[in-house]
């Protein structure tokens, strides 16, 4: 039987078990849409902007652990998608993006809606392909899914010229397996290194585990919990790792880094042995590298060898999957006698007493921290929470105590405003039985508002928690601290009436201006099982995110709410971002 390229492509997606495709049609992908229309097994989500398609597929992937799939047309279709692709790339999210291309004979002729998609996306994908012949379609899709989902996952783009989607060929069976001589995804960690690490850990008097997004992507939460309980070591988690270990557990010190807790950062600073598990010593974690963990040896576990000794030289590097390495460490350390760390814990408890997340309420204004705490209470800590980027993101990370992996979905690496809403939509499609909340701000939400329309079309009832302070809050915070309160372009004049806006898209809107109305409004919103509810919550415009390590500082240079004056530092600080 002969099929055309578009049909082969759609059948290949079906063979990969794809259930949802987030996309937007256009000239170069019309044949593919025609074939997709005839396929009952794949649900297409028609977004309102291609960036929404990539974020939607991304949220879907993060919530479910499956590969997200995006379909866009050539030219502006793919350029609009680039921000979402880069977002997924920075956070190692498995995604396959299929972009239409102008017909092969027109490539390079500046044809209508032509861009060099492979060239534009090269630096923000794990890999990309330009299909040159119909016979390459099935094998390329097989390779794309294999590359996107194995090793350190990431987005893979397939650019396919229109003429190839209408050419016909005799169908072959979809390949079951794939061998690539240049790509090996299975790395077995060295037993020798694991033994050395176990030895170092057993003798450590001030150990700390520092778990990152690799624990969530690598589905190693169970092993991480077992290892942490078994050793009794304190554990801190990165913004991307929250939920890999329950934040309500006593061994958890909360998040570390620029806006991490006092106890987490001080424990890093005082540790003699830091175990980085699926984390990459990002600049938001380390602060000033010269002041970072001055007395620690580093054990670094990561699946990607290029992360080892990139920012911080590892004393014991272990390249492998977090799941397998942690299991091997559990086996190694089960019968080992560990050094007494009770003094270390006493010290940590002292740091904990500082209560670095405490904040003062003031009458007449709603504190953003209170909103997150109330959200936590109303959802009993069980909701999937997505966020945009800025102050609200940090408050959500600090005050919603995530106990499960894949519960917290945010753009940690690229820091993409606009991510939260479409990601919430994707997460709700992946997990229809879960409550999904999008914590956002009046700046971020306006970057992807149009997806409210998609959310009505596909009935994805998420709860939008808009911390409306009238400012681009994080920008304002930095301007207050480092630019002598010159608030250049960080004030949002002429905000829309978000309640009417939500209603015009067919959703519910609730405005909250008083703290006593907050909890009832949240309860009401989550009771509306069938509706997306936009909660526009007026919060204190002057509130800042604390603790904070100012740029150029180390972990022991934290500034605490109400206790430290923020002052402009010397000029070198301005070079840090």
């Amino acid at each position: 039987m002969k099929l055309n390229g578009a049909q082969i492509l759609v059948n290949s997606l079906k063979s990969e078990g794809v259930s949802h495709v987030f996309g937007y049609p256009g000239g170069a992908v019309l044949h593919i849409y025609d074939a997709l229309n005839a396929c009952e097994d794949i649900k297409h989500i028609l977004v309102r902007h291609e960036q929404g398609a990539t974020h939607g597929a991304d949220g879907y992937a993060r919530a479910s652990g499956k590969c997200g799939v995006t379909l866009v047309t050539s030219g502006p279709g793919i350029t609009n998608a680039v921000t979402g692709i880069a977002t997924a790339h920075m956070d190692s999210i498995p995604m396959v993006i299929i972009s239409g291309q102008v017909p092969s004979p027109l490539i390079g002729m500046d044809a209508f809606q032509e861009v060099d998609a492979v060239g534009i996306t090269r630096s923000c994908v794990k890999h990309n392909f330009l299909i040159r012949d119909i016979s390459e379609i099935a094998i390329t899709i097989k390779k794309a899914f294999h590359i996107a989902t194995t090793g350190r996952p990431g987005p893979v783009l397939i650019d396919i010229p229109k003429d190839i989607t209408i050419a016909k060929m005799e169908v072959e069976e979809y390949p079951k397996t794939i061998e690539m001589r240049s790509y090996k995804s299975t790395i077995k960690a060295s037993d020798h290194q694991i033994k050395k690490a176990a030895e170092m850990l057993a003798n450590s008097k001030r150990p700390i585990l520092y778990a990152g997004g690799g624990c969530i992507i690598g589905n190693s939460s169970k092993e991480l919990r077992e290892f942490t309980h078994m050793t009794g070591f304190p554990i801190t988690q990165t913004l991307m790792g929250l939920g890999a270990y329950p934040m309500t557990d006593n061994q958890s010190l909360g998040m570390l880094g620029m806006h991490g807790t006092y106890e987490a950062n001080m424990a890093m600073h005082g540790s003699d042995c830091v175990v980085a598990i699926g984390s990459r010593f990002d600049d938001r974690i380390t602060g000033n590298l010269e002041k970072f963990c001055p007395t620690a040896k580093f054990i670094h576990i990561d699946i990607d060898p290029s992360q080892i000794s990139k920012n911080v030289i590892a004393d014991i590097p272990i390249v492998g999957q977090t799941k397998q390495v942690l299991q091997a460490l559990i086996d190694q350390m089960k019968d080992k006698k560990l050094a007494d760390i009770s003094n270390w814990w006493s010290q940590i408890e002292e740091w904990r007493k500082v209560d670095s997340l405490a904040y003062k309420k003031s009458p007449g204004v709603i504190k953003p921290q209170t909103v997150i705490e109330t959200l936590y209470e109303v959802t009993k800590g069980k909701a999937i929470v997505t966020s945009d980027v800025g102050q609200h993101q940090m408050w959500a990370a600090q005050y919603y105590l995530f106990d499960e992996p894949r519960q917290w979905i945010n753009s940690g690496g690229l820091g993409t405003m606009g991510f939260g809403l479409p990601a919430a939509m994707g997460a709700k499609l992946a997990m229809p039985d879960r409550d999904v909340a999008c914590v956002t701000g009046d700046g971020s939400i306006q970057m992807m508002l149009q997806e409210l329309s998609t959310m009505l079309q596909y009935s994805t009832p998420v709860k939008i928690i808009n911390l409306n302070n009238g400012y681009l809050g994080m920008v304002r915070q930095w301007q207050e601290f480092f630019y002598e309160k010159r608030y250049a372009m960080s004030y949002m004049e002429a905000l829309p009436d978000f309640v009417k806006l939500a209603e015009s898209y067919g959703h519910m809107g609730i405005r909250v201006e008083k703290e006593e109305d907050l909890k009832p409004a949240l309860i009401e919103a989550f009771n509306q099982k069938e509706h997306t509810v936009f909660l526009d919550i007026v919060t204190d415009p002057s509130e800042n995110v604390f603790p904070m390590i100012p740029a150029g500082g180390g972990h022991s240079d934290m500034l605490l709410a109400g206790r430290d004056e923020m002052v402009s530092k010397d000029e070198t600080d301005f070079n840090a971002v």
């Binding site: 060239g119 090269r122 630096s123 890999h127 330009l130 240049s182 060898p305 290029s306 990139k310």
Partner: protein, 161 residues
């Protein structure tokens, strides 16, 4: 320090731009880059000369290895190896300088591959330093045109990539 890195990669359209893009995106330095197909026509071999401290070179090797098209990466400078570069140069001659030029060509073992009344086209293979020394043996006016291939290299007789 200067390193010579050998890369075996899939002989596919776009593979070169992935490597070049990696160097520019991460701010790595390229002194020279040569590439051609190997005896297996599905593979290319690329030789890159870069300068950096050990940490940077380690990152370059790891980042190259991470590229999906790359089959193998070897830092030749870490082992016994042979490196060569080819120079093609046009050198002007006059009746006054001809003897002197020819003496220098002999001294460096350079070969005249074409000649006209006032110009020789010469070929010289050797380490980069030898090529530099050869070029500096002439006055700037004597050298009309220069084209260098950049370094290529292989591991020593006892090693295999």
């Amino acid at each position: 320090m200067r390193h010579i890195i050998s890369v075996i990669l899939e002989n596919e359209a776009g593979a070169l731009s992935r490597v070049a893009g990696l160097f520019s995106a991460r701010g790595f330095n390229i002194e020279s880059l040569t590439v051609a197909a190997t005896t297996d026509s599905t593979l290319s071999r690329m030789t890159i000369v870069s300068v950096g401290d050990d940490g940077i070179i380690e990152q370059i090797v790891k980042q190259l290895d991470k590229l999906i098209d790359v089959v193998k990466v070897v830092d030749l400078t870490a082992t016994e190896h042979i490196e060569r570069e080819l120079l093609l140069a046009k050198i002007s001659i006059t009746s006054d300088t001809q003897v002197d030029v020819e003496a220098k060509l002999d001294q460096f073992n350079a070969k005249i591959i074409d000649a006209a009344e006032e110009v020789y086209i010469v070929e010289l293979a050797g380490k980069s330093q030898k090529i530099k020394d050869f070029l500096s043996a002439f006055n700037a006016e004597q050298i009309i045109e220069v084209s260098r291939t950049g370094v290529t290299g292989v591991t020593g007789v006892c090693h295999k990539i």
